[in-house]
């Protein structure tokens, strides 16, 4: 459910930029999705296949570039990528840190013909 409006957003952005460039079709769409963004690749792909027939993006390939969560420890400043559900700093053992990466959620580029 959640991924439907999101996929519509992806399609809107891709088509807008393709039209501006005078494309006859979109062949590839590159997405950047952080692990903390909470969106599922398969689900986006499912809605994408459903929404694209008859549009400039029909048959386009979706590329998911995943970005791992990256934190800076609140205590010692060490930067680390935590395993899922454990945000313990491997250097000093403190819990958590400032999120440096992992919340990304954007269309990075498109390829057109």
């Amino acid at each position: 459910m959640h991924e439907l409006p999101v996929t519509e957003g992806i399609l809107r952005i891709a088509i807008e930029h393709a039209q501006k460039a005078g494309a006859s079709r979109i062949t590839d769409i590159h997405l950047v999705i952080g692990d903390l963004a909470g969106f599922v690749d398969d689900s986006i792909q499912f809605y994408f296949d459903m929404l694209t027939p008859g549009t400039l993006a029909e048959g386009a390939k979706l590329h998911f570039h995943r970005v791992a969560t990256r934190l800076r420890c609140w205590e010692c400043g060490h930067e680390f990528s935590p395993p899922e559900r454990d945000w313990t700093c491997p250097q000093c053992g403190a819990t958590g840190g400032e999120v440096l990466a992992g919340k990304e959620f954007y269309v990075e580029s498109i390829e057109i013909e």
Partner: protein, 219 residues
């Protein structure tokens, strides 16, 4: 035809972000402080709102937007408390978005409201991703849900301004470890105070009301 790559770099939720910015500007024009309330279903959002409305009484003019997948049950309860309320039914949608809130604002007497609560759809995941135009974000976690939730739903606990632990009157019957919960929340989000309370017994409500008053003033 030649194939070429076009850089885009546009946030996928940019359309929602724009509408949320419109909502925010409109609410600010009316001098309204807006608070987005989020939690799992059944954590006590509506009960907390009712207790808050009772406690603030005449001192603050409150309005409420109720978000639910279906039904008018929550809005009816709020209306009985004598506060202007609009029910949004998402029809299966798992979160509110800025368009829905924009429509709800049309139906509220904005000039008569100082403090607007938006009760989001019960869900610890999706509401965190969709800006509505609010000033503050509040997450509730009820004692029966367990203290281990922050790291299962990091994006929720990482971005909110305050975390309320609700139903503390159930503490004696549950294995909820408050100190551990605080440690986990602080690891994700050291800015957010953790306030334990029971809307049913009134325990801890004072601290929440204090936070609210500061939020309204601080805007």
């Amino acid at each position: 035809m030649e194939r070429k790559r076009i850089p885009v770099v546009e946030r996928i939720l940019s359309a929602n972000d724009r509408l949320a910015a419109n909502n925010r500007e409109r609410l600010q024009r009316h001098g309204i402080t807006t608070i987005n309330i989020m939690s799992s279903p059944g954590a006590g959002k509506t009960t907390l709102l009712l207790a808050t409305i009772r406690a603030l009484g005449e001192t603050c003019k409150i309005g409420v937007i109720e978000g639910d997948v279906a039904s008018q049950v929550d809005a009816d309860k709020i209306a009985q408390a004598g506060v202007p309320v609009v029910q949004i039914n998402t029809g299966g949608g798992c979160h509110l978005d800025a368009t829905m809130v924009q429509q709800a604002l049309e139906a509220l007497p904005l000039d008569e409201i100082q403090l607007l609560f938006i009760e989001n759809v019960g869900n610890l995941i999706c509401p965190a991703g969709f800006d509505l135009g609010q000033d503050y974000n509040v997450a509730l976690l009820s004692v029966p849900e367990g203290h281990d939730k922050p790291y299962k739903y990091p994006s929720m606990f990482e971005f909110v301004d305050v975390v309320l632990v609700t139903k503390t009157d159930l503490m004696p019957y549950m294995d909820f470890e408050l100190a551990e919960f605080r440690r986990l929340v602080q690891g994700l989000n050291p800015r957010a105070p953790v306030i334990p309370l029971s809307a049913r017994t009134g325990e801890g409500m004072e601290a929440w009301l204090e936070w609210l008053k500061t939020a309204v003033k601080g805007k």
